[in-house]
């Protein structure tokens, strides 16, 4: 039995350990020691008991869907045929004695019991093998029910449960900003509740502030500028509009204090850094000498920047220090095709960068670790562009034409499981938010 903090290590060890027996994924949250046994190499089964109350069915449906989409848990469906009494009612108060043997028989390693309280939900996690309660917590749910903030809070319950069971927090409590029709839109991680932002001009390239409270985007055409939209107040401010220039690809620095973006003028496109507070002026970071330098993406520690540059004649991904020194080509491999690499996005764990590379005339999604720099091709069907990491560092969202129209898709880089996020064509340039703990 191993005691580990990271599921990456768990998975690494699983390969070595083979079928060495049950593994305990473990974490300490709020002083409660959690550990749940499940067979290595499989997703632990989780059953969600029916939830009472007016919105109980919605809560249960959202949780089950989130567990499935996490790609870390297998949802066990309870049926009367298996001997479960599905009345939709569970007795008030916890713990409730469960027939653990019955849950074990249908493959549930964990059982989630949710009980409505005056202000939210009381959640109990049962460890089936140990036949005991593993964790208990109260979650408050903001009014109105089924509203945007309420759903986000229910997603937060799902993320907490995934963390209790696997030691790794889920990504359900996050959103994805993207562009359709040159308008910024935001959708929940499960594809629900699409929201349209009021935009100043034809919008491109949305990105999230580390707090999750601001979105930056660029507009193109005459009066091109960088806009910062405050999701809480609905207010927007902008900068950068000047003659003969196009402002591109804004991203916030990991400390949240500045915006890095590309200013494309008649003398090429260079990356600039603009502090958010005070009356500061933008400072140039790259010296492109007439080349194009766009699409910055910071390492999580903020010390380095991946970006796209055509300084050697064709677009490649480079990495430099945050102050613009030591630029070095990152995508230095050759596939015998006309090389064209773009849209780098640094993973939240800092270990790898995803980007798009042209293969046989079409863009495909790649990842490459900073350590071994071996390119790993993740897609091959249709054209796939603009990858963005989920906050769990395991899932990617990108645009793909594989269904016939351009849609957003989510890929689990570990299992290869793929699902379509949007249903309306022309959806592109996705940016995955950080975890939105506070709605």
């Amino acid at each position: 039995m191993h005691r580990l903090r990271s599921s990456h290590f768990v998975l690494a060890l699983l390969v070595v350990a083979g079928s060495a027996g049950p593994v305990v994924a473990q974490d300490t949250t709020k002083g409660v020691r959690i550990g749940l046994r499940y067979d290595p190499g499989t997703r632990p089964g989780v059953a969600v008991l029916p939830v009472s109350g007016t919105y109980g069915d919605s809560v249960r449906a959202i949780l089950e869907r989130d567990f499935d989409l996490s790609d870390r848990l297998a949802v066990v469906t309870l049926t009367a045929a298996d001997g479960f009494l599905l009345t939709g009612e569970t007795p008030k108060g916890a713990p409730v004695p469960l027939n653990y043997a019955l849950f074990a028989k249908v493959g549930a390693a964990a059982v989630v019991q949710v009980t409505p309280t005056p202000r939210g939900m009381h959640v109990t996690l049962h460890d089936v093998e140990r036949a005991q309660v593993a964790s208990v917590e109260e979650f408050s749910l903001p009014q109105p029910e089924l509203g945007r903030d309420w759903r986000l809070a229910v997603h937060g319950i799902a993320d907490a449960v995934v963390e209790w069971i696997t030691g790794q927090r889920g990504f359900a409590q996050s959103r994805i900003a993207f562009i359709r029709g040159n308008v910024v839109r935001i959708v929940d991680s499960d594809g629900e509740l699409e929201q349209t932002l009021p935009v100043l001009g034809a919008a491109m390239s949305p990105s999230w502030h580390p707090s999750g409270g601001l979105i930056a985007y660029s507009t193109f055409g005459p009066e091109s500028r960088i806009v910062i939209y405050d999701l809480r107040t609905g207010r927007a401010r902008d900068f950068g509009a000047q003659r003969n220039t196009t402002n591109l690809t804004p991203v916030f620095t990991p400390d949240g204090k500045s915006i890095a973006y590309s200013l494309s003028s008649e003398n090429g496109a260079d990356l600039y850094l603009m502090p958010l507070d005070g009356d500061a002026f933008p400072r140039r970071v790259t010296v492109g000498r007439g080349s194009e330098n766009v699409q910055p993406s910071y390492s999580p520690d903020g010390n380095r920047v991946a970006f796209m540059s055509d300084r050697t004649g064709h677009p490649e991904v480079y990495i430099m220090d945050a102050d613009g020194t030591n630029p070095d080509i990152f995508t230095a491999f050759d596939f015998g095709d006309q090389n064209y690499r773009a849209s780098p996005d640094w993973s939240p764990d800092g270990r790898q960068v995803t980007f798009q590379s042209r293969i046989d005339g079409r863009f495909q999604i790649f990842t490459m670790t900073l350590r071994d720099r071996q390119p790993k091709q993740l897609t091959s069907e249709g054209e796939n562009e603009d990858p963005s990491w989920a906050p769990d560092g395991r899932h990617l969202v990108f645009s793909s034409t594989r269904s016939g129209t351009r849609q957003l898709w989510i890929l689990d880089t570990e299992s290869g499981r793929l699902r379509q996020l949007t249903q309306v064509g022309g959806s592109r340039l996705p940016a995955w938010s950080p975890r939105l703990i506070k709605p």
Binding site: F220, G221, T246, Q295, P315, D386
Partner: protein, 210 residues
């Protein structure tokens, strides 16, 4: 007043009756020479008056024709100028195209720009906006930078040939405003372009003196 007016027809009627009686009583005398002269004078005067009227009408018609001719001439000149201006305008706004992922000016593009230069120099109040465009291939974000570079390439060419820098604005629409939406090279080739828009001073363009 009223009485007088009403009495008048009666007086006239009585007078007429007296005259008719007088005629019946004696045959009319032969026309007197005096009367003959008066009639001739009236006839002459009528003739002169009619002649004058004819002359006046002819003169008026001539003036009208002259005016119309003048209007026609002006209109024709305006039409010619308009056609000229239209032709000059289309010379200025004719698009140029680019090779894939390139912003170099091709020979056909240079010839296109060479035709614009004298028109722009002869119409110094005209300002233009060059917008660079890209095809759907390539990164859509990078394509905005590529469009800006394509616009700048055309601007540089014009400025080097004497067009004031301040008269030429550049912008980029990347791949966001395609004029052809099929997914093939014929279509992509049309979309890789610079568009030239007259932003001021454009209603009438003067032909450059050759």
């Amino acid at each position: 007043m009223t009485v007088t007016t009403r009495a008048l027809p009666l007086v006239l009627a009585l007078f007429s009756v007296a005259m008719i009686d007088a005629c019946k009583k004696a045959p009319p005398p032969p026309p007197a020479p005096m009367e003959d002269t008066a009639a001739a004078r009236r006839a002459r005067e009528d003739s002169i008056r009619m002649e004058r009227q004819r002359a006046d009408a002819a003169a008026a018609e001539a003036r009208r024709r002259a005016a119309q001719d003048s209007i026609d001439r002006v209109r024709a000149a305006e039409e010619a100028a308009r056609r000229d201006s239209e032709m000059l305008r289309s010379t200025v706004t004719a698009v140029i195209n680019f090779d894939f992922d390139k912003s170099d000016l091709r020979d056909d593009s240079k010839a296109n720009l060479d035709a614009k230069v004298p028109v722009l120099l002869a119409n110094s109040n005209v300002t233009i906006r060059i917008s660079g465009h890209a095809d759907e291939r390539g990164s859509s974000e990078y394509n905005l930078a590529l469009g800006q570079r394509r616009a700048a390439a055309a601007k540089r060419y014009l400025v080097e040939r004497g067009v004031a820098e301040g008269r030429v604005e550049t912008t980029s629409f990347g791949e966001e405003r395609p004029i052809c939406t099929e997914h093939n090279e014929a279509c992509w080739a049309q979309n890789r372009r610079d568009e030239f828009e007259i932003t001021a001073g454009g209603p009438t363009l003067t032909r450059p003196r050759s």
